[in-house]
Symmetry: C3
Subunit: 352 residues, 3 copies
């Protein structure tokens, strides 16, 4: 991150005044940057969230530290000013937002003169529409919403208050997103679902007449796609976080506060619960159900409904290629191997 | 989908007049929406394609039903008007298209004044070019073609009649698509293939001098990429359907009416037959051949040519994480386990 | 590729004069196209890199051939003119670049009148900025750089000399790329990393305050994403080549000349060495380290650090679905099977 000059840097006491926490030491110290504990130097603020990394406190050069109460003494030994808080990682998250709000250039309020805006559009006067944006007819854009350069919004779409679209987002006809959302560049909301009826060896298109409904506080990553529903809407509930390069097919339902890492794919009509997590490149087949509080490991393929909370995994363990070749060859005969074991058991214990 | 008011809704008899089928019951009933059988209410038309779901007929509130002849009696018991047809799913597909044609706003014919159009471009007067589109030199755009907002078309590209590009499609230099195609937002046709010659530990670029050739009736999903060929063209034959987030590398050949679900990847120079299907996230390695009528399950990796029609699968079965850990550990020793079984067999049957 | 007419085609001697190699035969022959050896005809130049394909020399119709010294006699038997070089594939790579430089239309120098350019921007007079590009404030664009149509460059970004962005690239705030880079359409550099602090069942955003640092001679494929770092920058060193649809998460470090095929995913803070290769759809989990000269096979999942050079693989072998079903069922009991083998061993050899 860019370092602030000492002249423009905030003082620690200002951070504590805004974000809370218990200040120990010199509140007048200037904070020029946020840094990772192992790299932090003079003028930096750093945090310790994981007690296992407590040893890093012994050598840090940070001017200020965010720690739990049990690390206060250790942190003070370094001569740093200290903020004590029960959840340093959460404090760090809030500090990054505080920092961004102070240092990022605010978006220009109003509609850029090059934007093409349709008819009967309601744009809140505090909203910002960037250059070369294209807004369809009958669109509603809420208070403080920020639509970046080259965004495209389809007819009848609705965008909630303080929602932000990075440059190049496509948010197509009839789709709806609530408040405080964030769509990264290249995200495409409302492309056609993949639906065809087979007919004499060819595929006849099923027009996708539904849309996409997205709740409040949803984040959708770069180049991620959420398809419109065939008849009903695809549904992304409040607080869902989707990373980059994700594919959400038509009529999927994702419950509140579920998070998916990059490259995940979800096939049509899958119904995913709340508070789930999906590791990168997990794949979920269609027309199945996943309960609340299910956690899927990276690169695992969900082929059946998972109705019990828990952690599920299914990835081939990586190995040196020569070992893999031998094991993979045996794997292709695994059923036979089991039968051979059964035969041995029968032979050894003929009466069992 | 958006419901039509009773005033604007079509009558059932009109649907039958246009799409065929055998009408039983009141053709004057107003059809305000198409709905799934289990959700359908008064004013809705629904279909029953899967005879296993026949029980849903008993409780549906739909005003009209599309069924096979063997379900006519059951459908009529509900008091609904009925269309009898040998393939209700196909009828449904056609009904969605009929519906979309009646209810979607037609694209504005002509070239939007903000579009930048190159030299010697032939645009059919019935075609539609959206705002901020950029069209290169020597491009040909056919009758009734629709290019959405912010589309980019490279020099010498050709776009067939009635082909549609959603907003933000990039269709690059020298590429060609036939009639009645559909490219979803963010699709990129004609990016460089990934080709390099290794040289003293670095990579020297091989310029990709081919293009992409796409036949008629092809659909390509959102954020899907089809790379241009190194020397010859990458080739997508008639009727191919590609879902979102797919990667087609240079010089791949995909045969007629093959369909691929989201997140599939196909490496360079793979030759894929006609009438194949690929489940989501299937991966196909390069320089291999897949016969016609091969079906690859989701998340399966094709590492060798498959010259026999059939269904092929290769994905690790998902399990509770604790089970997976035990099984994965054993899998890494599978070859050894086989040897142990062999040793037991030898010991038990020393003469065999 | 497009064939040149005999009138505009270069002569072989011209190629040799520019690219070197030992000319045997008629340097006056016109070269109208580069072709694969098996398809080459009169007027074409082809190469033989793989000695195993030497038999193709016996039947080629190519007018000119690029071969190693040990194939000279065989090549001359066909009556073709011959370029002898120790590395025909490298020669071919250079020939494609020579060809592209001669035949591709050069980009228009200067800033297209429709481009929106911010304040305090330094654009080298030899650079080219395409229609509807949007360039933020305080951007630096080097000599000979080419930014295609509809590109978006964020504030304070830096783009090195002769670097090219295809149409629709998004290169966001504060990111930096060196000289001679190439970004394909839809590539997104500097989207937010995926970082949240859990809080009472919801996710609190960690603003991503770092950027992306990209060295010289880097190629990034279509629709590939490289996220900005949380605090420090995501780092892509010189000579790295990334194919399409790749996801590089925040704070990843990729060493010099490493290459990744399409659909690869790399999770946050992974540290990847130099001169590595990754097959398509390989997945690398976060916070791990991969040494220099590691080669990961397609569709393999790296779940732990790999500190030793070598080839690593972990993909489920594909099989006919019926076989897979039996083997997969057994795999879910593999640990039990091992215990059964152990029991048999114990029973058979009670004292061991």
């Amino acid at each position: 991150m860019r370092r602030l000059s000492a002249a423009t840097a905030p003082r620690l006491a200002q951070i504590v005044a805004d974000l809370g926490g218990e200040l120990h030491g010199d509140g007048a110290v200037c904070i020029q940057a946020i840094a990772a504990l192992e790299h932090a130097g003079v003028g930096d603020i750093a945090f310790l969230a994981n007690p296992k990394l407590r040893a890093q406190l012994a050598t840090t050069q940070a001017s200020a530290l965010i720690v739990r109460a049990d690390c206060l003494a250790l942190a003070q030994e370094r001569g740093a000013a200290v903020i004590v808080t029960p959840d340093p990682y959460l404090y760090f998250a809030r500090l990054t937002r505080w920092w961004a709000a102070r240092t990022r250039k605010p978006a220009a309020v109003g509609v850029h003169p090059t934007a093409v805006v349709g008819e009967r559009v309601q744009i809140h006067p505090s909203a910002s529409i960037g250059p070369y944006a294209v807004i369809g007819d009958d669109v509603v854009i809420g208070e403080g919403a920020i639509l970046g350069a080259q965004v495209c919004v389809g007819d009848m779409a609705e965008i909630g208050a303080f929602t932000r679209f990075a440059p190049g987002v496509r948010f197509l006809e009839g789709c709806r997103i609530g408040a405080r959302g964030l769509l990264e560049s290249g995200a495409i909301i409302g492309g056609d679902g993949f639906g065809f009826a087979p007919h004499q060896g060819t595929w006849e298109k099923i027009e996708q007449l539904g849309a996409v409904w997205i709740g409040d506080d949803v984040e959708i990553g770069a180049n991620t796609c959420v398809d419109r529903g065939a008849l009903d809407d695809t549904f992304i509930d409040d607080g869902v976080k989707l990373d980059n390069q994700i594919q959400i097919a038509h009529n999927v339902h994702i419950g509140k506060h579920t998070a998916m890492a990059g490259c995940v794919g979800v096939a049509g009509s899958a119904k995913i619960g709340a508070h789930c997590t999906f590791g990168g490149a997990a794949m979920i087949l269609g027309h199945l159900e996943i309960a609340d509080h299910v956690h899927i490991s990276s690169a695992s393929v969900v082929m059946r409904s998972l109705l019990k909370p828990g952690v599920y995994t299914g990835a081939f363990p990586i190995d040196e290629n020569s070992n893999w070749e031998k094991n993979a060859a045996t794997l292709r005969q695994l059923h036979t191997l089991r039968n051979r074991v059964r035969a041995l058991e029968k032979q050894q214990n003929p009466t069992s």
